[in-house]
């Protein structure tokens, strides 16, 4: 059996060639009132199809929908949840990429169907296993610009966790069995780890494989805590910064480890050998059935052609480890 591979977060929405920039053009035209919502929607769907197609063509085992409709990690929910509005632009952690900080101006309520349409569409396109994704409660709560509703960070995190649980239930009803919870704040803000644990208790569902995905920051100080979170897998970025996590993966005794080994924030291309060496190092501490290889984070931090090449290196590296022949 080959080590499994997956993607994380958003896939590049456009490529460098003009033919790969249909979404950019459609959004401009939509802004100018030249095309209607339905036409823009069709382009979003086309690009989603392209993204899933490219991920699958690279040989990735578990894909997502590429988050083509997402302006940023929080925007789909800031748009649909009542009690939340998109607020000021801010830098997304240590990236030259920006997001709208949510502003909480009332009790957060959702029907849990924010992602159902996108998930259902992607399920009709994907040939491989499809997973969904949603931001983590601690990340959402700590990135808010203002909160006029909840008296403390704790109240805010738990209210967001309850809304997130509804979204997870909505995705489950739509057929999802695997969901990534992208929560870099768990690593960025380790002092809140017990609050995060309380939030994840509210998300847990025995029928779903939830992955708590950390990225950008070393998870060093929270590694042992994460090992007892009620989730099926933990995502760890071992490339963005110096980290001891790589040598402590045996902390995870039951959960799978989604190991970010291909740097999604640098164009320098890993070789398949390099990927294989990372995998072999991890295999000393985690059995193969509980190891999944992935990019460190969203591939959208890279130009699309580099993203594609990174996925190819990832898959070839995984095949090298299991002695499978890499197709020329």
């Amino acid at each position: 059996m080959t080590i499994r591979t997956t993607v994380i977060g958003a896939y590049p929405k456009i490529g460098d060639g003009l033919e790969a920039q249909e979404l950019r053009r459609a959004l401009h035209r939509h802004d100018r009132g030249e095309i209607a919502d339905a036409e823009l929607d069709k382009v979003f769907d086309d690009v989603t199809r392209t993204a899933i197609g490219e991920i699958e063509a690279a040989g990735i085992d578990v894909t997502n929908d590429g988050q083509i409709r997402w302006d940023d990690l929080l925007s789909p929910f800031a748009r649909t949840w009542s009690g939340v509005e998109p607020g000021p632009l801010e830098r997304f952690y240590d990236n030259n990429t920006y997001f709208r900080q949510p502003v909480i101006d009332g009790r957060i309520v959702t029907d849990g169907r924010s992602l159902v349409r996108d998930y259902t569409f992607a399920a009709g396109v994907a040939k491989m296993t499809l997973k969904a994704a949603i931001p983590g409660p601690l990340t959402f709560a700590t990135l808010a610009a203002r909160d006029e509703q909840y008296a403390s960070l704790e109240e805010r995190v738990l209210a967001i966790a309850d809304a997130t649980a509804r979204e997870i239930a909505g995705l489950k009803a739509a057929g999802a069995t695997m969901i990534d919870i992208e929560d870099p704040a768990v690593a960025a803000s380790p002092k809140n780890i017990e609050l995060a644990r309380e939030a994840y208790r509210r998300l847990a569902d025995p029928d779903l494989a939830l992955t708590l995905v950390t990225y950008f920051f070393p998870a060093d100080t929270v590694l042992e805590s994460l090992a007892s979170f009620p989730v099926a897998a933990i995502g760890i970025d071992v490339r963005s910064r110096d980290t001891t996590a790589f040598d402590r993966l045996d902390a995870f005794r039951t959960q799978a480890v989604v190991l970010g080994v291909v740097d999604a924030r640098n164009t320098r291309l890993e070789t398949a050998d390099e990927v294989a060496r990372y995998a072999e190092r991890a295999l000393k501490l985690v059995p193969q059935e509980r190891l999944v290889l992935a990019p460190t984070t969203s591939l959208e931090y890279l130009p699309r052609d580099v993203a594609r090449a990174k996925l190819t290196a990832l898959v070839e590296g995984a095949r090298l480890v299991s002695g499978e022949k890499v197709p020329a």
Binding site: L89, R265, T267, L302
Partner: protein, 326 residues
């Protein structure tokens, strides 16, 4: 020129429509570089005149000839490659540069624009550079073993450019570090690099910082070897000023009093209130009112409105100061 509350701007202005159009034509190969440069010079001259008309004290060239504050330099340095398109936000994309080899500067990159802009006015024009830490942080590093190695190599390049600007007569040199708090644990690297850039300069040195968590690098950022820090404040509801309660601000402060990301311009009263807030922490001789950030995402008209609000608000507060015996 009044010595109190000198007004200025962060560096970039909105491009006139004829220039935006021309840049598009150049990209499609329908217009030559010489024709484009003519239009850039025309737009620069217009912005110098507008700044004088508005009554700003220390001017900028407006960066009519730059698209992006990192790519402009990357395109002119050896060792850089122009990378593919990456999204910054919404439907905005940029060519993120790649450091692919050892970096060197074949020739000065901003000096002739500075000289041209300065020749059009008797008011001082600032020399405008992007700092070494930001140049690295906003590029992919494929060539240098560590981020620090790349930052220090870039520092030498920026230093050479700063010295050339000073030789060309620049009395103010701004070395922007908007990415300085991207990784607060690396603030020492940014400080070390800025030390290389500003060592031996006699011009007044300024560094603009925006977005991000300023609190995470305060008060360490006071060790950044520049005379003036230039901070976005209006967009943040002036909350960074609270930090100065515990650790007094020790440099000159260029204070952002109008938000550049909103189409609507603050009223003169609102902007004046921003200056008054700043005066609680920094004396008038060391406080410089200006917009929060570069204005390149605004239209020419919006830029003029925002700058006018800055100048009018400053007049109001200067009058108040004149009434109070020192």
């Amino acid at each position: 020129m009044s010595e109190n509350l000198l007004t200025t701007t962060v560096g970039s202005f909105g491009k006139p429509e004829y220039l935006t159009k021309a840049r598009g034509q150049v990209a499609r190969g329908k217009l030559g570089a010489t024709e484009l440069e003519e239009l850039e010079r025309k737009a620069t001259a217009e912005w110098i005149r507008r700044q004088e008309d508005i009554g700003l004290d220390v001017l900028v060239d407006g960066e009519m000839y730059r698209g992006d504050m990192v790519a402009y330099f990357a395109e002119r340095l050896e060792g850089f490659k122009i990378g593919g398109l990456v999204r910054s936000y919404g439907n905005r994309y940029y060519h993120k540069p790649v450091i692919a080899g050892k970096i060197s500067r074949p020739k000065p990159m901003t000096v002739s624009w500075f000289e041209y802009a300065q020749s059009l006015t008797s008011k001082p024009v600032k020399g405008m550079l992007t700092g070494p830490y930001t140049l690295l942080d906003w590029s992919y590093n494929e060539a240098y073993p560590t981020r620090r190695d790349a930052v220090l190599a870039l520092a030498e390049i920026v230093r050479d450019e700063a010295r050339d600007l000073e030789r060309a007569g620049a009395k103010y040199i701004q070395i922007d570090e908007p990415a300085i708090h991207a990784r607060p644990e690396e603030i020492e690297i940014a400080i070390e690099a800025m030390g290389i850039v500003t060592a031996g300069l006699s011009a007044k040195t300024i560094s603009h910082i925006c977005y991000g968590d300023f609190a995470a690098i305060y008060p360490q950022v006071l060790d950044l070897p520049v005379d003036q820090l230039d901070l976005a404040m209006a967009n943040y509801g002036y909350r960074w000023l609270d930090l100065f309660d515990r650790n007094p601000f020790t440099k000159e402060l260029a204070i952002g009093i109008v938000d550049v990301h909103a189409h609507a311009t603050e009223t003169v009263d609102e902007a004046a209130e921003g200056i008054r807030k700043g005066l609680r922490y920094v004396p008038a001789a060391k406080l410089w009112p200006h917009p929060d950030c570069g204005l390149k995402t605004r239209t020419v008209e919006e830029c003029v409105e925002k700058c006018t609000a800055v100048v009018e608000a400053t007049k109001v507060v200067r009058k108040e100061l004149a009434k109070v015996p020192a």
